[in-house]
Subunit: 343 residues, 2 copies
C-alpha cells in the first residue's frame, strides 16, 4: 500500500501537488489530477496518515447537517434534494465536496454535532431546521466552527443565515384571503419546535390583529408536515363549532391529505374552504382544484447557500455573508375563492 | 487550540481512550465519552493532525453514495430518507456514523468515487442505483474498498449486495393481470440505465413469453420515475393504435401523473386501464382508485443494509455478508380490475 510520498515520487511531482490533486483543488490542471488519480488507483494508494496530516485541517468538504426520520422527510419532502443539487454544483466549482450528515430525530442533536466537530469531518457546516432557541448555534460559535444556518433563530451571536420569508408568506396570505371576504382564517403549522412555526404564526397573528379578523385560538392548528397531518387537519377544522372558511398551510405536503379529508367529510376544497399552500411543489401538480401557493427556485436558493458557505472558508478572508430572507411569489390557484356570504 | 494530547493530560486518561471517546466507540463508558466531549468543547479542541493519525485508517464512518438531481429524487421519492433512518440507527449502536455522499447526476460517478476513496472519508461505502455494468464496482474492488451494493449488477466479482425483487414483482404482476383476462399489458421503466430497469424488463418479458401474451414492443415504455413521467406514459399509451388494458409501473411515483393523464384523456384509471404500482408509498395514499402495489418495510430493509455494511468493518473478521434479494408482498387496490371483453 503506497503513501502520498511514494505516489509523488513515482509521478515525479511534488507532494503538495499530489495532495491538492487528491483534494480536487481548482489550481491543479485537469490532466495532472487525472494522472494522480490514475496512479493512486494503480499503486493502491490509501490516504489517512500522511494525506490527512498534509491537509492541515482543510478537508475541502462542507458538511450539511440534515434531520432525518421526521414526518416531512419520510413523507417525501423534496426540498433538500432539490436544494443540494445546486449547493453541490457551486461547491464543486471551487473544489469542495458536500457531505450530508444525517441526524436522526430520535438522537440528541447536540451530542451529534459535538461528534461531527470533534471528528473534523468538514471545514464548515450548514445546519437546518433551526429552533427558536438553538443550542447547536451556541456550540458552533463556542467551538469556532464556521457555519451557515439555513433558518433563523433567536439565539444571539454573529453568524450568517438564510431563511425563507415565513412571516411574509403567512401575513400576505391572511391579507389576500381577508380581501376576498374571509374572516375566520385558520393556520396549520408543524408540530416540531422549529423556528419557522413561530415565524409563520407571528406573521399570521399580526395580520389577523391588524385586520380585526376572528382571533379564535382554535384556528391555530399544529399537525405534522405530511399528508397524514393534512388529514388530521381536515377532521379538526370540520369538528369546530364554526369551521373556518379558509386555511393557510405552513407545509404544502399537508394539502393532499387536507383535500382528501375535506372530501370525505362532504366539503369541496376551494369551494367550501379556501386553501393556500406554502411552497409550489411539483409533487402537488395533480391536485384538483389546483393549489394556490408560493414559488421558490430551489436552484437559486441552493446556489445562494453554496456561495455563502464557501465565503466562510474559501477564501477565508472574504467578508462574512450577510443574513438573507428569501422572498416567495404568490401563485394563483383554484383552491382560493372569494367568500360567498351565507344568506 | 488544544490537541488530543493536551486533552488527555487534562482529563488524566489515555490518548487512546480519548480518541475512542471522540470517535464514539462502544467500548468507552457513556460518562467518559461525555466527559471527553465536554472537555474537548471547553478547551477548544480541534482534531485533524494528531487525532486523524491516531485512528490509523479507521474513521468510524460509513459513506452512502447517493445520486442527486435525478427525477425521482427531485420528485420527492422518500425511499432513501426512509431507509437511512434505520441504517443510521443500526450504525449508531456500534459507534459508527453515516455520512451521505451526494453525487450529482451531472457529474462523472467514477471521478466522484475516486475522490471519495482517495480522501478516505469512510471505512466502507454503500453504493446505490447500480448499473447493469457498473465501473464503480470495479474501482471499489480494485482499491480494496469495503462496500455494499444496494442493487445488483452484472459486473463480476465477489462483493455483497442487497436488491429488491424487481424480476419477481414484474413477473408476478404480469401473471396476476393475465389471470384477470388482460392480454395487452404494458410496462413503464425508468429512462436511466440502472440495472433495476433491466431486471424489471426481464421479469416482464419472461412472464409475457411464458403466458403467450401480446409481445408488442410498443408496450415497453421508458419514462422518468416521477409524476411527469406518468403523465407522459398516459399520453403514449393512449396514442397507441390499440392501447393496453393494463400497465405495470417500475416506480410508484409515476402513478399520480398516469391517473391524471388518463383522466384528461377521458379514461378512468382502474376501469379502463388496470394499474399496478411498484412500492407502497404513503405519499400515494390519496390516490382514488387506490393503487395496487407491493409492500416494503423501509425500516427492515434499512436495518439489513446497516447490519451488512457493519459486517464489513466491525469486526472486520466476520463472514462477508451474502447477497440478498428482498421480496415484496402484493397489496390489493381498486386500480386493478378483471378485463371485461368488448362485445
Amino acid at each position: 500500500m503506497a503513501g502520498i510520498r511514494q505516489l509523488a515520487e513515482r509521478l515525479d511531482i511534488s507532494i503538495g501537488t499530489v495532495s491538492r490533486a487528491l483534494n480536487n483543488k481548482p489550481d491543479v490542471k485537469k490532466e495532472t489530477r487525472e494522472r494522480v488519480l490514475k496512479m493512486a488507483l494503480e499503486m493502491g494508494y490509501r490516504p489517512n496518515q500522511m494525506g490527512r496530516a498534509l491537509r492541515r485541517g482543510s478537508t475541502n468538504t462542507i458538511g450539511f447537517v440534515m434531520e432525518i426520520g421526521n414526518p416531512s422527510a419520510l413523507g417525501g419532502d423534496n426540498f433538500f434534494m432539490g436544494l443540494l443539487d445546486s449547493v453541490q454544483e457551486v461547491l464543486a466549482k471551487s473544489g469542495f465536496d458536500l457531505v450530508l450528515l444525517p441526524c436522526r430525530s430520535a438522537d440528541d442533536p447536540i451530542e451529534f454535532l459535538q461528534r461531527q466537530i470533534a471528528r473534523g469531518v468538514a471545514d464548515a457546516l450548514v445546519i437546518s431546521a433551526t429552533r427558536r432557541h438553538d443550542p447547536r448555534i451556541e456550540l458552533l460559535l463556542k467551538t469556532g466552527t464556521p457555519f451557515l444556518a439555513l433558518g433563523r433563530s433567536e439565539t444571539k451571536g454573529d453568524y450568517p443565515w438564510i431563511d425563507l420569508d415565513f412571516e411574509g408568506v403567512a401575513g400576505q396570505s391572511v391579507r389576500r384571503l381577508a380581501a376576498m371576504g374571509h374572516n375566520r382564517i385558520a393556520i396549520a403549522m408543524p408540530r416540531r419546535s422549529v423556528n419557522l412555526a413561530h415565524l409563520f404564526l407571528q406573521g399570521y397573528r399580526s395580520a389577523v390583529a391588524d385586520l380585526g379578523l376572528d382571533p379564535d385560538p382554535d384556528l391555530v392548528q399544529r399537525v405534522s408536515s405530511s399528508e397524514n397531518g393534512g388529514m388530521a387537519l381536515a377532521n379538526r377544522l370540520m369538528s369546530l363549532d364554526i369551521p373556518p372558511t379558509a386555511v393557510i398551510l405552513a407545509h404544502e405536503l399537508m394539502a393532499s391529505g387536507l383535500y382528501d379529508g375535506l372530501q370525505q367529510g362532504g366539503l369541496r376544497p376551494g369551494h367550501d374552504m379556501s386553501i393556500i399552500g406554502f411552497r409550489q411543489n411539483p409533487q402537488l401538480r395533480y391536485l384538483r382544484p389546483s393549489l394556490a401557493c408560493h414559488a421558490l427556485s430551489l436552484q437559486a436558493l441552493g446556489q445562494a447557500v453554496g456561495r455563502r458557505v464557501l465565503a466562510l472558508v474559501d477564501p477565508p478572508e472574504s467578508d462574512p455573508p450577510s443574513p438573507l430572507v428569501w422572498e416567495m411569489d404568490y401563485i394563483e390557484g383554484d383552491s382560493v375563492r372569494p367568500l360567498i356570504p351565507v344568506a
